[in-house]
């Protein structure tokens, strides 16, 4: 029987880790993800799980040890945030290119500077081209559910890629909220036992991990990695369907909220999507046909699916919780605009930057954005592109 509880996002992920009971967790603490390894090590100390916990001296080491353990044939994971992810950079690429299906539970926090501990997506977005699958959560429930789906996606034979399960630092990681937890047995059955095909500790079938590859072969390895990322889309959907059977909760590449007849859609990720849905309901009551498209899976990027989903509306507000410093908009906005062009969808698109370094994002901001794009469409004027929301006057 599922159990109703109230947990913070970090507590929810730690609870899921206990239920999955992976083999190895190397970790180094960093705000706001510190509670995850802290809670896991408490579970281990209390004998509630038997994961091998390795306290390491840096995130460079935690990711290295995660890869090493995974290569040895152990189901592995780590947790981090912000600068911790930045310090893992080189290893992130090794995890994906060596096709290690390990999990990183990322609690999104801004990258310096100015130094700041609060949420934005600059850490995760910065790692967008490291070959990791990336799934973002709106709340504690999704952070929990996404973690449970992580290994079945990553370890699928057609995928074999590492996966980042992301949630918003403090906003969900430290907010206590209602949640429905699955039974331990249900989770264990769903995730199953890890049976790696090739691994270092298999003395019957020796393999090398991470050898030098000459130019005559390296490009094929990269192409295979790309194919795996494409394959993961179907696997993510299949795992979501199976997850719905055990939980009743439905997941996809993205969630469409009141978009079916929407004139205007806000495309947004993470916790701000919840705020946007509430504002959307309020605007609908006033007669504005607003809709919210919450992107759950950023890698692989569902370009075609997004273009189709946006094809019926008059204008989309693309919300980036990350600055790209390219003079042209945030990462989500650029990829969505490229997708619209590629699939010949002629929907107006406006790029907004919000919530950097923990700047609060409110229902009023959502009202303002919808009103602004509605006025522009009605009057046939241009909305200023690449606009910051909630800046001090």
């Amino acid at each position: 029987m599922p159990k109703k509880d109230r947990l913070s996002g970090n507590e929810a992920v730690a609870y899921a880790i206990r239920q999955v009971n992976p083999d190895v967790m190397p970790a180094f603490p960093i705000t706001p993800s510190t509670e995850i390894p802290q809670l896991v090590s408490t579970y281990i100390a209390n004998g509630q799980m038997d994961t091998e916990f390795i306290p390491v001296e840096s995130e460079h080491s935690s990711m290295s040890a995660t890869i090493g353990a995974e290569a040895a044939g152990a189901r592995s994971l780590t947790a981090t945030s912000s600068a911790g992810l930045a310090l893992m950079w080189e290893e992130l690429l090794l995890a994906s290119s060596n096709r290690m299906p390990c999990v990183l539970t990322l609690v999104n926090r801004t990258l310096s500077g100015p130094i700041n501990i609060n949420c934005d997506h600059s850490d995760g977005m910065g790692a967008r081209d490291t070959g990791w699958i990336q799934i973002y959560a709106e709340n504690n429930q999704e952070a929990y559910d996404n973690f449970i789906q992580a290994y079945p996606i990553a370890e699928n034979k057609n995928v074999h890629l590492p996966i980042m399960v992301c949630q918003d630092g403090f906003i969900t990681s430290h907010a206590v909220q209602n949640i429905e937890l699955l039974d331990d047995d249900t989770v264990k059955d769903f995730v199953g036992t890890y049976e790696p095909e090739e691994y270092l500790l298999n003395i019957g079938k020796p393999v090398s991990v991470g050898p030098y590859s000459i130019s005559a072969y390296a490009m094929e390895a990269k192409k295979n990695q790309e194919i795996a990322m494409e394959n993961s889309k179907e696997v993510i959907l299949k795992v979501a369907r199976n997850f719905e059977r055990i939980s009743g909760r439905k997941y996809g590449l993205f969630e469409e909220y009141r978009t079916e007849d929407a004139d205007y859609i806000m495309l947004i990720m993470g916790s701000a999507a919840g705020t946007a849905k509430q504002a959307c309901d309020d605007l609908r009551e006033k007669g504005l046909k607003a809709g919210i498209l919450k992107l759950r899976v950023f890698r692989p990027f569902p370009a075609k699916e997004l273009a189709e989903a946006l094809s019926g509306c008059k204008c989309v507000a693309i919300m980036d919780r990350c600055e790209s410093y390219n003079g042209n908009g945030g990462p989500l906005s650029m990829e969505v605009c490229a997708a619209l062009f590629k699939y010949r969808v002629n929907t107006e698109a406006v790029s907004y930057i919000y919530g950097l370094a923990g700047r609060d994002f409110t229902v009023q901001h959502v009202y303002d954005i919808f009103e602004e794009i509605d006025a522009a469409v009605q009057n046939g004027t241009q909305v200023e592109q690449y606009k910051y929301i909630g800046l001090r006057e």
């Binding site: 109230r6 609060n118 907010a175 206590v176 919840g274």
Partner: protein
């Protein structure tokens, strides 16, 4: 906006305002409500002003922003009245509870002409009497429950005993004192609440 109760806590780092908000979420959850309890994080240090929040609703809570138009404000440290605009956005038909030994009339000047209900609780006195130390968060939690009516006194006391037994499993000697603090605060506020009911 979502139907429900929105509460903002003002305290100083180390006084337990965040813990009080999380405990309130905890007890409200036990009434079957949807709850949210979260602090606003920054460079925390002992004594610095901090803010924490609660949303309590019959419906699912989706909003993840801070609270700007609360129904109830709880001020755990009276000295904040001089430096923080504690009534900012507070609804006119809402309430504010202030930890102070003073009477309501003596602090009204510091509330920017707030027209809603104002309650005072001498949480320091209650805490020193029951716990021997100044831990104002238990009395202020009881005050928040009493004023908001999230749950009745009996169920609150029952649920809090369970919470404290869990929270203070390694310091059981503080449980009775905390329980006494809750009851004393409820009783101290009962008269004021009857008057304004």
């Amino acid at each position: 906006m979502e139907q429900g109760l929105e509460i903002r806590w003002h305290g100083r780092g180390g006084q337990g305002a965040k813990t009080a908000a999380l405990l309130l979420a905890d007890v409200a959850f036990k009434t079957g409500a949807h709850v949210q309890g979260f602090p606003e994080y920054g460079p925390e240090r002992m004594g610095a002003p901090i803010t924490a929040y609660n949303r309590i609703s019959r419906d699912e809570i989706r909003v993840h922003s801070n609270i700007y138009t609360p129904d109830l404000v709880v001020v755990v440290d009276e000295t904040l009245l001089h430096s923080v605009d504690v009534t900012a956005g507070l609804k006119e038909d809402g309430s504010i509870i202030i930890n102070t030994p003073k009477k309501k009339e003596e602090i009204m000047d510091l509330l920017n002409g707030y027209k809603g209900k104002v309650y005072t609780v001498d949480a320091r006195k209650i805490s020193v009497e029951t716990l021997g130390k100044n831990f104002p968060n238990s009395p202020m939690l009881a005050a928040a429950v009493a004023v908001s009516g999230v749950m009745d006194k009996e169920s609150f006391i029952r649920e809090m005993r369970t919470s404290y037994e869990h929270k203070f499993a390694k310091k059981p000697e503080v449980i009775e004192g905390n329980m006494k603090a809750l009851v004393m605060t409820f009783d101290a506020l009962a008269k004021d609440l009857e008057k304004t009911a």
